[in-house]
């Protein structure tokens, strides 16, 4: 696989424009266990940011806190400079945050079209063009529009989960491990589509185990370890950083 980066987004991350999403000193607890110990992170408009880390490092927790599914005990979640922490996730959807939850979570016993219609639930008057847009992005879904989501393959379900989130017209799309349990070829397809979605103007924050894929797509990356950010840099830098290569890319990296 080529490591060629088609983006010049690295410069955007360091620009002075107010960040679309900013996490400040986030402390999140599960009972007595402190899952996030002061996570700081920012995502600028139009960027793709990858969140890397081992199992249990706090990647999903960070994402869930950003999408309102978890409430931080202290710290701030800022959307365009405005505090949004404590707003429940179903309200936060209205602020233009789309969340593709871990494990896809499509409505298994609804058809593909019904799933997408549910994605547009927050919009009073859904635009029929939105669904066409999703079907252009994912032709596989268009072929199966009447099929029940539970009968789709894992990759198709992931596509549907992303498509469903897109139906809510998010400015910022949070993706929790879009490559989980999928064949390499499908992962490649999904990342190609994510790039396309980003080029159409949606900002992406994604959590990934598949560090090499994620960093090839991303402009910038953060590395989490035991609930804190230990590294953050341009994706191209992280991709060649010896510590990242050793820990997350393994020996197989080019």
């Amino acid at each position: 696989m080529s490591t060629q980066l088609t983006k010049d987004g690295a410069a955007q991350g360091s620009s002075a424009a107010p960040a679309l999403l900013e996490l400040r000193e986030l402390h999140v607890f599960y009972g007595a266990i402190e899952a996030l110990k002061g996570v700081e992170l920012s995502v600028a408009e139009g960027e793709v940011v990858a969140l890397l880390g081992a199992n249990g490092a706090g990647k999903s927790t960070t994402l869930k806190t950003a999408s309102g599914m978890l409430k931080p005990r202290s710290g701030e979640v800022l959307l365009r400079g405005e505090r949004v922490d404590g707003i429940p996730s179903h309200e936060l959807v209205r602020f233009g945050i789309g969340h593709v939850p871990e494990g896809r979570r499509v409505f298994a016993r609804m058809s593909v079209v019904e799933n997408l219609q549910m994605g547009a639930y927050r919009l009073r008057r859904p635009d029929p063009a939105d669904m066409d847009r999703v079907f252009t992005l994912f032709p596989r879904l268009a072929e199966r529009r009447k099929q029940l989501a539970g009968t789709l393959s894992g990759g198709e379900q992931q596509m549907l989960a992303i498509g469903r989130a897109l139906m809510g017209k998010p400015e910022l799309l949070l993706l929790d491990e879009p490559s989980m349990g999928l064949a390499p070829l499908i992962v490649q397809q999904i990342f190609d589509i994510l790039r396309e979605i980003n080029e159409q103007g949606t900002t992406l924050l994604l959590v990934e185990q598949n560090a090499s894929q994620a960093l090839q797509l991303a402009d910038r990356g953060y590395v989490l370890e035991t609930g804190a950010v230990v590294m953050s840099d341009d994706a191209s830098e992280l991709l060649t950083h010896p510590r990242v290569r050793a820990a997350y890319l393994g020996e197989a990296a080019e």
Partner: protein
């Protein structure tokens, strides 16, 4: 157990081949024969003479030696022979006759579905038949139509919102029915305590709706974060609280002595006055009116944003929330709507039977209503209507043809058979049918 010995008589682990071997009595054909023979014996016992209190084995002996068992055995063996040895021609005949029928049926269905006016016409015709129905029935059946079928249809429609659409298992549904009935008793001045004003029963209906809504929210708000089994237990507890309050709060409810209703439904326009009296027919028409209005409202609701949100919640609450559904509010709404429907039924019931006591609101009723909903087809209004009507009608009908004490046994058997062979219910909703098919494909 199944030790296999080799030629020298040593014990060995049984070979795969021996484990795979099917003995004659393990064949499906012979298993079916045994099952049918058991059915014959049970059938002979059930339909034969009744036992006596002095000689409990009297019936057993009589039914094993009487002619009944031979008829049953002949029937069952006959069925078995046809099933095992004559299935080819029977199937061929069945397929042929089905093919002959299927084309006209498909054509009729096509016409039916093509023209919505025809469907509305059909609905109107059905409504007219339902309006005229009590005129052809005896007073006894009129009473059954009102006290049981119409009231429980209303309850089942309400429970369908909670279980069929929002997917929450509510075992305490009849508590709201009781609250509705006691509201009616209170506001008409039929309880030991004096209400602030004595109201016409019609005016109690909105009050009962609001009371049940509040009770539903009161119960729901702290508990609806629970799921499935846990919620079921909580609703069970809620029912017990309401039931015991009705029984023991004697100063307010009259306790187990019950309360006699002092008012009935009355329309008084000064120049014209109509009172719902002992005749069940006006009650029937009143309830029919309520049912039609509620069904109309609920059908609108089912296909609205709210209905879709309920379906999403039933599927996956986390995903529903991430698409912007306020899950807590929607669940509360389903609960409250179900509760208030139940409350309306309670008011009419109290007014109709004119006497209520805590024993009218036992837990069994909650479970029966649940059975009606599941039997008819969860989430499908036509199914729920048919399920409730059929399951209430059956024991009443059997009253004349079998020993009255055995009636509910037949009901139970019907439920068992139904759940095995048609778990989606009598007239399932399209969605439910697909859901079950999907579940089977996964299994």
């Amino acid at each position: 157990m199944s030790t296999v010995r080799d030629s020298k008589g040593r014990e060995r682990v049984p070979s795969a081949a021996s484990l795979r071997r099917v003995r004659w009595y393990q064949e499906a054909r012979w298993k079916r024969l045994v099952a049918l023979l058991v059915l014959a014996v049970v059938g002979a016992q059930v339909t034969g003479v009744q036992g006596t209190s002095t000689d409990i084995f009297y019936a057993l002996g009589e039914n094993f030696t009487g002619t009944g068992i031979w008829i049953w055995l002949a029937l069952c063996v006959g069925v078995w022979v046809i099933r095992e040895f004559l299935s080819e021609p029977v199937n061929r005949g069945w397929v042929a006759s089905r093919d002959r029928v299927s084309q006209p049926v498909a054509r009729v269905r096509g016409v039916w579905q093509a023209d919505p006016r025809l469907r509305y016409g059909g609905g109107a015709l059905l409504l007219v038949v339902l309006i005229l129905l009590p005129l052809w029935l005896s007073t006894y059946w009129q009473q059954v139509m009102v006290d049981q079928i119409a009231i429980f249809v209303l309850l089942a429609i309400g429970l369908n919102v909670v279980i069929g659409w929002a997917g929450m298992l509510d075992l305490g549904f009849v508590a709201f029915f009781a609250i509705g009935a006691y509201s009616a008793a209170f506001w008409t001045g039929s309880l030991p305590v004096e209400p602030p004003v004595v109201l016409n029963t019609f005016l109690v209906i909105p009050i009962a709706i609001v009371t049940c809504l509040l009770a539903g929210v009161l119960l729901g708000a702290p508990t609806l974060r629970l799921r499935g089994d846990y919620l079921a237990i909580v609703t069970l507890g809620f029912h017990e609280i309401v039931y015991l309050a009705a029984r023991n709060w004697t100063d307010f409810t009259g306790g187990s002595r019950g309360a006699r209703m002092s008012e009935r439904f009355v329309i008084d326009l000064g120049f014209w006055r109509f009172e719902w009296g002992l005749d069940p027919k006006p009650y029937y028409w009143l309830l029919l009116g309520f049912i039609v209005v509620i069904i109309f409202l609920f059908l609108r609701l089912e296909h609205s944003r709210v209905g879709r949100a309920w379906t999403a919640i039933r599927e996956d609450e986390v995903a529903a929330a991430s698409t912007g559904v306020n899950t807590v509010r929607m669940k509360l709404l389903a609960f409250a709507i179900g509760a208030s429907t139940s409350g309306v039924a309670g008011v009419v019931y109290a007014s109709k039977v004119a006497f209520i006591s805590p024993e009218n609101f036992v837990l069994l009723l909650s479970i029966l209503v649940l059975a009606y909903v599941i039997f008819g087809g969860m989430g499908s209004i036509p199914g729920v209507l048919a399920g409730a009507a059929l399951l209430i009608w059956l024991p009443e009908y059997l009253r004349d043809s079998v020993d009255p004490q055995d009636r509910f046994m037949y009901l139970g058997a019907l439920l068992v058979v139904m759940m095995i062979y048609r778990p989606q219910g009598l007239l399932p909703s399209k969605r439910r049918q697909r859901e079950l098919r999907l579940a089977e494909e996964k299994a």
